[in-house]
């Protein structure tokens, strides 16, 4: 546990000493803010229309603002995840500091968990940044906070899985760009897999669609905590970290 926190702190330090963290926070905050502004603008328009026609549409902040926002955030996250994970191991391999870590009295798993927690923490910071938008929503409206919390939990779980995959890919190369590009490709693929369900209903299509990280987010966006989907994300996290550990072990046999 102590060793994990040593690695975690080192990684957090390097995120926040370099411009990476600030860049990601700013960009994510900006994009999310734009989504928020759009969603709210649309919501206000709907409200005015319903007044003009004199008939009341059912208006619900949770359904009409928060839910599409969370879905957007879940897709936007896919683009940011490679930038968080690409340097994790690739950088250590390139600069030779991997040799320091692997010859220190610390287990591989502790290194991996430390790094992955740091990546998750940075993503959590990005999410926290977006909470500013919802603060306004709570000030001027009265949405239900529970579905929102579940949505955030979903975002975090989904990112956890993708970050684990990114961490794994980062162990495969010395080149950050390659790690980043490969992770980006995998993230995109895991998003679009779901599209096959649009025209095909065979078992293979269902399996492919099931593997899409986006499908599993739908329940979270609705504010429903579905164990099935939570377990899916936890499995992705586990597999990602497991492959990272195997890959790190194989570095020793190959190098």
């Amino acid at each position: 546990m102590r060793n994990i926190s040593i690695i975690w702190r080192k990684e957090m330090n390097s995120y926040f000493v370099s411009p990476i963290a600030y860049l990601l926070l700013t960009m994510f905050g900006l994009i999310f803010g734009f989504f928020f502004w759009n969603a709210l603008g649309y919501f206000v328009l709907m409200g005015m229309e319903s007044q003009m026609r004199g008939q009341m549409f059912p208006m619900n902040l949770n359904e009409q603002v928060i839910r599409p926002l969370l879905s957007n955030a879940s897709v936007t996250g896919l683009f940011f995840i490679p930038m968080i994970t690409m340097r994790l191991f690739a950088e250590e391999k390139r600069s030779g500091t991997m040799e320091l870590l692997t010859t220190s009295p610390i287990r591989d798993l502790e290194v991996i968990l430390g790094k992955w927690f740091a990546a998750v923490t940075l993503y959590a910071c990005m999410l926290l940044f977006t909470a500013l938008n919802f603060a306004f929503l709570f000030k001027y409206g009265n949405p239900d906070w529970k579905p929102l919390a579940i949505g955030y939990l979903g975002l975090l779980l989904q990112a956890g899985g993708l970050l684990a995959i990114g961490t794994f890919i980062s162990t495969l190369t010395k080149n950050q760009i390659i790690a980043g590009a490969a992770t980006f490709g995998v993230c995109l693929l895991l998003w679009v897999l779901e599209w096959v369900s649009g025209y095909e209903t065979a078992t293979w299509a269902q399996v492919l669609a099931y593997m899409s990280v986006i499908t599993h987010f739908e329940s979270f966006a609705k504010g429903v905590l579905d164990t099935k989907d939570a377990i899916f994300y936890l499995t992705v996290i586990f597999l990602g970290l497991f492959f990272t550990a195997r890959s790190m072990e194989s570095l020793r046999w190959r190098s």
Binding site: N3, I6, K10, N13, S14, V17, S18, S95, G96, T97, M98, E99, L100, L101, T102, T103, S104, P105, I106, R107, R252, W253, S255
Partner: protein, 326 residues
């Protein structure tokens, strides 16, 4: 302190280290010598648990590198060929990070960081970013990082590579100074370095152990007979090589006289004797013959010659070949 038995590392196509065995006693400085690509780094990496051996065993401070790697790692300080530094960290911050990795904490950690800084003369750059340090400082921070947890064994992979002559001297002095407290293995392909710093030499070539002995013994062993270089000048006009050669050959104990070079009326001969000290007889004989004795010096075999003799004279060609292969 370190016991290596039949250690072997095979890769898919080649054998990097081939059945190497040696022992290192506590407190010794051992030079690990070999041309580039001989297997020095691979051996060191196996000792530090970075690479698992294919066959054979190695124990450090009584712990096996395969069975108890964590215990071994606690007792080893390792400086890889390029110091493992994080450019975005400050020196002090980096040393304290490494200290924590090695299991130090609290006031002990602070004390060790200060000690390592002082010892390796990096205290003045404690608040500087590692990425901005000069090569010499980087190397010394690397050394400081290796000694931070006061390890029993220090493993240094080419600690003076890429430094300027002044820094090389400083680093060697530093390593010598560390010898009392730590057992040190240092690899190098620079021979005078071994002569100057090490007590014991392990020479490997093409992954095989060629020799392991003390520097002194190795020199003696390779020298065997005493060899003396004599520079003789003729008083009037040039020298007759034949006359000189036969004259020198008559001295008791001299087994071989060989003409080396000549400049004008000065000529240099290499004289080999079996029974040891003949320099007195040699000088007298030259003067009595009416020549001038300009120079008389023992041609002690340098480690360089021993090394070439042991690893075969094709070593330079091979270096180029292995470099190409890498």
């Amino acid at each position: 302190m370190i016991t290596v038995k039949e250690l072997t590392k095979r890769y898919a196509r080649n054998t990097a280290v081939d059945h190497i065995s040696f022992e290192v006693q506590k407190g010794q400085i051992v030079g690990f010598l070999g041309p580039n690509g001989a297997g020095k780094t691979t051996t060191m990496r196996m000792l530090t648990c970075f690479l698992p051996p294919t066959a054979g065993s190695a124990t450090v401070a009584g712990f096996d590198v395969l069975e108890q790697p964590l215990e071994v790692k606690k007792r080893i300080g390792y400086l890889p060929e390029s110091p493992p530094l994080y450019p975005e960290m400050e020196t002090g911050e980096y040393l304290s990070f490494v200290g924590k990795l090695k299991g130090l904490s609290g006031t002990e950690l602070g004390k060790r960081v200060d000690y390592a800084c002082d010892r390796c003369a990096v205290a003045d750059v404690k608040n500087k970013l590692l990425g901005k340090l000069s090569k010499g400082y980087r190397q010394r921070v690397g050394l400081a990082q290796a000694i931070i947890h006061n390890p029993d064994v220090l493993i240094l992979d080419e600690p003076t590579a890429g430094l300027d002559p002044k820094q090389i001297n400083e680093t060697r002095e530093l390593i010598k100074g560390l010898a009392g407290d730590h057992t040190i293995i240092l690899s190098t392909h620079i021979l005078p370095e071994v002569e100057q710093t090490c007590e014991q030499v392990i020479i490997i070539n093409k992954g095989k152990l060629v020799a392991t002995d003390s520097v002194h013994n190795l020199q003696n062993r390779a020298r065997g007979a005493e060899t003396v270089l004599v520079e003789i000048a003729g008083r009037n006009g040039s020298l007759d090589m034949g006359v000189v050669q036969s004259r020198l050959q008559q001295i008791a104990g001299i087994s071989r006289v060989q003409f080396k070079t000549s400049h004008g009326n000065r000529s240099v001969f290499e004289v080999e004797s079996q029974k040891g000290f003949v320099r007195g007889d040699l000088a007298r004989s030259v003067v009595e013959a009416g020549w001038d004795l300009n120079e008389l010096r023992p041609a002690a075999m340098s480690l360089e010659e021993i090394f070439l003799q042991l690893t075969g004279s094709e070593a330079p060609a091979e270096q180029a070949a292995t470099k190409g292969a890498q």
